[in-house]
């Protein structure tokens, strides 16, 4: 086999095209390596060559998934690669979703071995782990070197058509696939051994982990919305101008609670976004585009809703850990319940 031909996928940021203001960048291809492709290429040495890099803006991809996918597939196909690599996306949510979607499409529609890499909390993991190989990375580009060192050996193995072992052996994220094998000991013996370990408080590994379906049953609908007190919550980072609580533009460690009593409309002079994960121009111009206070005031006046709750809550959902988001929301929810709120509108960017 000659040199393995690879096509690499990057978002607009890692390709050096621009930040959020360029997130609507349409799919394009460049010959050879771009950005992090250089680190990968260095890792592959002479065994493989990144022949082309496909670039697409994260917002464009996520807002136009089908068109973007079709276009990227077309660009990848032209180069007839032996392997496709997307990312690493680290903890960038839209990038992770794009990497997952396009890796799945290349694998299933072009029948080309493909993989991607991202942080385990990236929403792309939950969406695509079952169908594709995802190499876990750190949550930011600081982990690039580490990611490359994990991607390279796995990628070569995959491209050469070698047998891919279990997630534990190979280091990819579990796909929930069970493979039959002959064990040395019979089931009853293994079960008793596990039980003894458990009783002794030792670590043991179950052979059948229960899937973690953390679903919450929907609450009953609001009977009479014209009497209901409705609260606004957002992960889009809308804050009073100046961001008085200094909510971080990414990986937020806090949320804000803001009084909107008597406020009819959010304006460029009074509100802004603190979010660093999308182009802030539109939200800064008119924050109602993320937090629809103006419309809810109209509906309140017209008697179509009972009342808009006096406070809204806001955080930045950009690379924010699931644990923090959970903590924020459960504190917020407790207050909302105590304040007699009946229903919540949560907006996300």
């Amino acid at each position: 086999m000659g040199k393995i031909r690879i096509v690499h996928y990057l978002n607009q940021f890692f390709a050096g095209i621009g930040g959020e203001e360029k997130a609507d960048f349409k799919p394009e291809v460049r010959e050879g390596v771009v950005g992090p492709g250089m680190a990968l290429q260095a890792g592959f040495k002479d065994e493989a060559e990144i022949v082309a890099t496909v670039i697409c803006g994260d917002s464009y991809f996520n807002e136009n998934i089908e068109e973007a996918k079709a276009k990227v597939l077309e660009l990848v196909k032209q180069y007839n690669p032996d392997l496709f690599i997307a990312g690493p996306a680290f903890n960038a949510g839209r990038y992770g979703v794009a990497c997952g979607a396009i890796t799945e499409a290349v694998q299933n529609e072009l029948n080309i071995p493909a993989l991607t890499a991202m942080y385990e909390e990236n929403p792309g993991v939950d969406l695509y782990r079952k169908s594709i190989y995802i190499i876990p990375t750190k949550d930011s580009a600081v982990g690039m070197r580490d990611a490359v060192s994990k991607i390279v050996p796995f990628a070569l193995k995959l491209a050469k058509g070698e047998k891919i072992g279990s997630p534990e052996e190979e280091g990819y994220i579990k796909r929930g696939i069970r493979v039959n094998y002959f064990a040395d000991k019979r089931g009853s013996q293994r079960a008793v051994e596990m039980l003894i370990k458990k009783i002794n408080g030792e670590k043991y590994e179950t052979e059948y982990p229960m899937p973690d379906f953390d679903r919450v049953t929907p609450n009953p609908a609001i009977k009479d919305i014209t009497k209901a007190k409705i609260a606004l919550v957002t992960s889009g980072g809308i804050v009073p101008k100046g961001n008085p609580d200094h909510i971080e533009s990414s990986s937020a460690s806090k949320y804000g609670k803001y009084d909107i009593e008597g406020l009819m409309d959010l304006t460029a002079d009074t509100f802004q976004t603190a979010h660093g994960g999308y182009d802030p121009v539109y939200a800064n111009e008119d924050a109602d585009r993320v937090l629809p206070v103006d419309v809810l005031r109209d509906l309140e006046k017209e008697g179509k809703i009972g009342k808009l709750h006096r406070y809204y809550y806001s955080t930045v959902g950009n690379g924010t850990s699931v644990a923090n988001a959970k903590k924020f929301a459960s504190e917020i929810a407790k207050e909302l319940v105590a304040d007699g709120v009946d229903a919540v509108i949560l907006t996300s960017t």
Partner: protein
Amino acid sequence: MVKEIERAGLPVVHICTVVPISLTVGANRIVPAIAIPHPLGNPQLGPEEEKALRRKLVEKALKALTTEVSDQTVFED
């Protein structure tokens, strides 16, 4: 966040652009939005039209809150 609010007993509607993400995070009532940097607006429209668009989305969200659902539901048009 949606899930924790729902868990606390409050019906919640998630207005967001990337519906697949909303589905994986476990939102039960979902209203698809316009675009990532302006989920409830469209800067290309005039102010009147834009507000009308926003109102339609909010009304759809209110409708979602008054609709019984037994499972994750995306409220399209």
